[in-house]
């Protein structure tokens, strides 16, 4: 195990270091809060010769993802980053380049989507990419961000995957929080992730080819989609192989989901990203009070590790799936995925409730976790539970009141 260098890094800096140690060769970029620090750092490193290759300032995320995909199809190791509105603006390109089956890593720093416009995090941005066919890894800590970028390149470049990998972190809570991060030495990293050598033909004069040609007829279209689906599913095995090798070389082990005090848990929170840290603190608190709580933190979100999750949750009485996203008119986006993963099993949890909270960066507090436990206990609790209480209502009314006072003054 090599732990050469332990430094304090924000999530954003950890992401930049991940790209640096992966020796990425090309970064097309476009700024957006809270991601900007990543591309600023990389711009500096390309400009001062720390990194070899090219950093190109693009004109939009639509252009940026397209350039990223095209460069990957031309045989260089590509990294880029975005967030929120940037993901939506680039969505057409994201679907396009995943269909091209090209390897690259992109970091999304989660930020809630307009409207209303805000800078603070939730997961509707990353969930919008759920179905576009990329691989998704969600990070709770700065160390995970760094490690997932190395692992991400390894998965993306696997000849049986060939897909973009998205590494997600929460804006502010992680992007701007400093944590100690172990940066392994270059030589060991090279063992895990050698310089990029494409296995399949890439654009160059001796290899003329037509890519992404139009298709006629559902069969041809479906064929390519089935291929894409198989590759995405196969990425779970590739993830497990890559993390096993990673564990051997670096001593940190990553399963598709992390089981925290799960063994005897009667109440399980299913969470992801940085708020899982809050969930873990609540689990410890609850256990002090004699409540057997546990937490399952999802790391690999695409492909969805159905069997792993079912195996982790079956046998536990009550499960709360905490979604920091909202599909209005339906509810939480990951909840149905968890439920359908469990449906075939007879020993599935008796109660699986949906919880929606943390929207637009709203904190999930200790008392929120208590009310989730109550919600799980309550036999006729209707799902979902929205973490929006009297106190939130009052906070909103307070700011409304300020505006109303002004209005009265101006109209009098």
């Amino acid at each position: 195990m090599k732990t050469d260098n332990k430094i304090m890094l924000t999530g954003n800096k950890a992401a930049a270091w991940g790209a640096r140690m992966a020796q990425v060769e090309y970064v097309p970029a476009f700024p957006i809060t809270p991601q900007t620090e990543i591309v600023e750092t990389l711009a500096q490193w390309f400009a001062d010769g720390t990194l070899q290759g090219k950093f190109t300032n693009m004109d939009s995320e639509h252009s940026m993802f397209m350039a990223a995909g095209a460069a990957a199809a031309t045989g260089v190791r590509v990294f880029t980053a975005s967030s929120s509105q940037g993901i939506l603006h680039g969505m057409e390109s994201l679907y396009t380049i995943t269909g091209w089956r090209v390897p690259l890593v992109l970091v999304n720093v989660s930020r809630a989507l307009a409207t209303p416009i805000t800078l603070e995090p939730d997961h509707n941005d990353v969930m919008s990419t759920r179905d576009c066919g990329l691989i998704q890894l969600h990070a709770e800590t700065c160390q995970e961000i760094f490690d997932f970028i190395l692992i991400g390149h390894k998965i993306a470049e696997n000849p049986q995957v060939c897909l973009p990998v998205l590494v997600n972190m929460d804006g502010f809570y992680l992007s701007f929080t400093r944590e100690p991060v172990l940066i392994p030495d270059k030589k060991t990293i090279l063992k895990f992730l050698p310089l990029f050598e494409p296995v399949y033909p890439v654009f160059q004069a001796s290899q003329p080819m037509a890519r992404a040609s139009a298709v006629f007829g559902g069969s041809t279209y479906s064929y390519f989609k089935m291929q894409h689906n198989l590759a995405a599913h196969h990425a779970e095995k590739v993830f497990n192989d890559a993390t096993a090798e990673f564990s051997e070389l670096f001593g940190r082990t990553y399963e598709p989901a992390e089981k925290f005090h799960m063994d005897d848990a009667d109440f399980v929170f299913v969470m992801s990203n940085s708020f899982a840290t809050k969930g873990k603190a609540a689990v410890l608190k609850l256990r002090q009070q004699g409540i057997k709580a546990g937490l399952l933190k999802i790391r690999l979100f695409r492909p969805f590790p159905v069997a792993f999750i079912a195996q982790a949750l079956c046998g536990h009485e009550r499960v709360a799936v905490i979604d920091q996203n909202l599909a209005p008119g339906m509810g939480g986006i990951t909840y149905p995925e968890i439920v359908s993963s469990l449906y075939p099993y007879e020993n599935r949890p008796k109660k699986i409730v949906s919880v929606i909270g943390g929207l637009g960066g709203k904190d999930i507090t200790e008392s929120d976790f208590m009310s989730i436990i109550d919600h799980m206990k309550n036999s006729d609790s209707k799902t979902p539970l929205y973490l929006f209480d009297q106190e939130d209502q009052r906070a909103f009314q307070r700011i409304q009141k300020i505006a109303n006072v002004k209005k009265e003054v101006s109209s009098s």
Binding site: S60, S63, A70, A71, T74, G75, S93, F203, Q204, A210
Partner: protein
């Protein structure tokens, strides 16, 4: 410096090799395809085309391609950013990864006027700002052809399109004049800009031959008579292309080192009617009654243009 010296004088001087083989799904008499064919004869096989959604997307339908070079279909709005990514990656490999020079590609964008004038213009402007080393080929059929001939910013005043039909209240059909893409590009001072016509193959070939020797952004607008959308018999495609030039409606010119040169000046400009009356999209200007007022507006617009040069 004025016009660059041309390497070809006669048709039989043109490059004998074809880089685009016959048998594509495009319409018979497609002027744009003729233009691209002539361009690729000159540019050769070591070309990668980043294509925008449009008629020409159907050049490569899986598992076929008529091209001897490479092809990458992108989206309607981002063929140029794709060209940027490919160019950047090739440069990185040439510089740092020992890619031999002979493996380099000429990167090209092929896009319709809709992509070029509308949805893709912002990204193109950004690439011009970066002086992207590429060739841009806009085939200008003056509408969104692939979706069935709707208005684009290149649709000419007085033409009927599916989304700007002529009616009692809108007798002209299209009520705005065509966007001047040449001048828009020129404002950013790219290396080279040219307009070309498939009916002027020597002029066209000379321009691509010159562009091939340059680096930076080299921009082309190819007038592209479109029998399907414009409403004429495919066999008249050449005639329509010729009339576009002879009436002065489509000026054939180039921009290089700050100078604009008309490389094929109409000797004596024919009245615009000669061009208009052969096409269904302008029929409402002649039937059921002649709309002299609209035709006069078109003529004045052309006259105004040439008043700066004649």
């Amino acid at each position: 410096m004025t016009a660059l010296a041309g390497k070809y004088k006669k048709l039989k001087d043109l490059h004998p090799e074809e880089a685009i083989t016959p048998g594509t799904g495009l319409c018979a008499g497609c002027g744009g395809l003729d233009g691209l064919r002539l361009a690729l004869k000159e540019l050769g096989e070591n070309v990668l085309i980043c294509n925008a959604a449009g008629c020409f997307t159907l050049l490569s339908v899986y598992p076929f391609t008529p091209l001897k070079g490479s092809w990458l279909y992108t989206t309607m709005g981002a063929p140029v950013p794709a060209a940027q990514g490919v160019r950047d990656a090739l440069d990185i490999r040439l510089q740092h990864r020992e890619l031999p020079d002979k493996e380099d590609l000429l990167v090209m964008t092929v896009a319709g006027d809709g992509s070029s004038n509308d949805i893709g213009l912002g990204a193109t402007s950004a690439a011009l700002h970066r002086n992207l080393d590429f060739i841009y080929f806009c085939y200008d059929n003056e509408a969104y052809g692939n979706t069935g001939f709707q208005l684009s910013a290149a649709s000419p005043y007085g033409s009927a399109t599916q989304t700007a039909p002529n009616t009692e209240f809108h007798p002209a059909g299209t009520e705005f004049f065509k966007k001047d893409l040449f001048e828009i590009w020129k404002a950013q001072k790219p290396t080279y800009i040219a307009t070309v016509s498939p009916r002027e193959p020597i002029d066209l070939s000379n321009k691509f031959a010159k562009a091939k020797t340059m680096s930076g952004s080299r921009m082309f607008i190819c007038m592209s008579p479109c029998p399907t959308g414009w409403g004429f018999d495919p066999k008249e495609s050449d005639l329509i292309a010729k009339l576009a030039v002879d009436t002065g409606m489509f000026p054939i010119k180039e921009y290089f080192e700050g100078q604009v040169t008309h490389t094929k000046r109409p000797q004596r400009r024919l009245p615009v009617e000669k061009f208009l009356q052969r096409q269904k999209r302008f029929r409402h200007l002649f039937e059921p009654e002649c709309r002299h007022d609209i035709i006069e507006n078109i003529q004045s617009h052309v006259d105004e243009y040439w008043s700066h040069y004649e």
